[in-house]
């Protein structure tokens, strides 16, 4: 039977029985989301690689302890990734707030340019980069709820399972995170500066 048609639990069971093909299938199915989460939280591809590898090493060692009645396997993996990312952030201090350009060499946004398709693309890319930088500039406990709910489109319940907190806490943190993000974007739009981004 093809591993593509097997559920996460079936793959996990086979994997714990020593089936490398099952492990590979499970890894390929779940690693993109884990990697993206780590990347969006840390802003560092190196950190995202390390976290992804560590998450699946833990799964190899602790997979027998996974209890499907307590949550889904993706939520389990996200929880492991979150713990590792937060440790990395604290250890390496990857969070670099968007600082003002002391030399004043940064461009100042002068408002929407002419409706040109190439310029639209440029502006769109700049906007995406602005959002990315602003997300990375949030405090970690606001950033993670924003990444899970708005970038990974998790429900409040799913995010609460990953974060180990109540649904109401997730909603209130998300509201606060979006408020801070909007403020940063407004500030950034007045004085565009990508120099503070870690990447």
């Amino acid at each position: 039977m093809s591993e593509q048609n097997l559920s996460d639990q079936d793959l996990l069971n086979r994997m714990m029985g020593g089936d490398e093909a099952a492990f590979t299938a499970l890894y390929r199915r779940r690693q993109p989301a884990v990697y993206r989460f780590a990347l969006q939280m840390s802003g560092s591809r190196t950190t995202a690689e390390d976290v992804t590898q560590e998450v699946f090493m833990v799964l190899m060692r602790e997979g027998r302890n996974f209890d499907p009645s307590r949550g889904s396997l993706p939520a389990f993996l996200y929880g492991i990734a979150r713990n590792h990312v937060l440790r990395c952030l604290e250890r390496d201090q990857l969070y670099v707030p968007a600082a003002e350009d002391p030399d004043g060499s940064g461009e100042e946004a002068s408002g929407p340019a002419a409706a040109d398709s190439a310029l639209d693309d440029l502006l769109r890319n700049e906007r995406v980069e602005s959002v990315r930088g602003a997300v990375l500039g949030l405090p970690a406990h606001y950033r993670e709820v924003l990444v899970l709910c708005d970038l990974h489109e998790m429900s409040y319940e799913q995010a609460a399972a990953v974060l180990g907190c109540a649904v109401g806490t997730v909603r209130s943190r998300l509201r606060r995170a979006r408020g801070l993000l909007a403020e940063k974007l407004r500030t950034g739009s007045r004085k565009m500066n990508a120099a503070g981004c870690p990447i």
Partner: protein, 252 residues
């Protein structure tokens, strides 16, 4: 709906998480309140920006080297699982197994020796000297009772004499006071090797299915082939059976 309740649900409305009557009322309020409408527009713009960011990173994934490293680690982790099978046959286990086998062998020999006929207990008649088996020919009735090597010879008993007694004679192996009556003498087995010069013999009583007589070269009644039967076997020093005697149990 008022502005306060609208502000508590504007985030869900902008993220598409609000539906039904609540959504209808919130939209209706935004149409009547410019401040709330601006708030809703900001939230929708923020949501669009975040979705654009998510879309730009959708193709991001770990490089191939991460998978390679994990698969290598997986194989290493799985490899030691085969070792315990080898460890089970460590020298200590082998010694234990050999000891058990030796004890079983000693026990089997001891049980076999218990089944050999006891030396004479009735004290009747002169002790017969150990006699060699006759040549491979059907033995006459009432002859040939061999003593176990090293023991006093059992008295010669004949079937006829045994039949006269009220109590059956203790011929052959006597076990736990059972009374047996032998019938006939020892029959030499076909294809049995010849006796060696001075070779001693041992009589062993046992039970065997009648069908086993075929392997001894003797005829078998097919209708009774599965029935067990008690026999006395004369074994040479090489452990090979030379003769057989059929034991019939008597019941009072």
């Amino acid at each position: 709906m008022n502005c306060h309740s609208f502000s508590s649900m504007v985030m869900d409305l902008a993220r598409g998480q609000l539906d039904g009557e609540a959504r209808r009322q919130a939209l209706a309020h935004a149409e009547t309140c410019s401040k709330c409408a601006a708030r809703l527009a900001d939230e929708r713009a923020l949501t669009a920006g975040l979705r654009a960011l998510a879309a730009s990173q959708q193709a991001e994934q770990a490089p191939v080297r991460v998978e390679a490293a994990l698969r290598l680690a997986f194989r290493r982790q799985a490899a030691p699982a085969a070792a315990p099978a080898v460890m089970r046959w460590s020298p200590r286990w082998r010694w234990a197994l050999a000891t058990v086998a030796a004890l079983l062998l000693i026990g089997a020999v001891w049980v076999l020796k218990l089944r050999t006929p006891a030396p004479a207990t009735a004290g009747r008649g002169p002790a017969a000297k150990p006699a060699a088996l006759p040549a491979p020919q059907p033995a006459p009735v009432g002859t040939v009772i061999l003593a176990r090597p090293g023991l006093k010879a059992a008295p010669a008993r004949t079937t006829a004499r045994a039949q006269k007694r009220k109590r059956p004679p203790q011929a052959g192996a006597v076990r736990n006071g059972e009374e047996r009556e032998t019938e006939g003498g020892f029959l030499p087995l076909p294809y049995a090797p010849a006796w060696g010069s001075g070779e001693s013999a041992m009589v062993v009583r046992g039970e065997m299915p009648r069908s086993a007589l075929v392997s001894l070269g003797l005829p078998v009644n097919a209708a009774r082939a599965a029935e067990p039967m008690k026999v006395d076997l004369v074994l040479g020093q090489d452990g090979v059976a030379r003769a057989i005697r059929f034991v019939r149990e008597s019941r009072r």
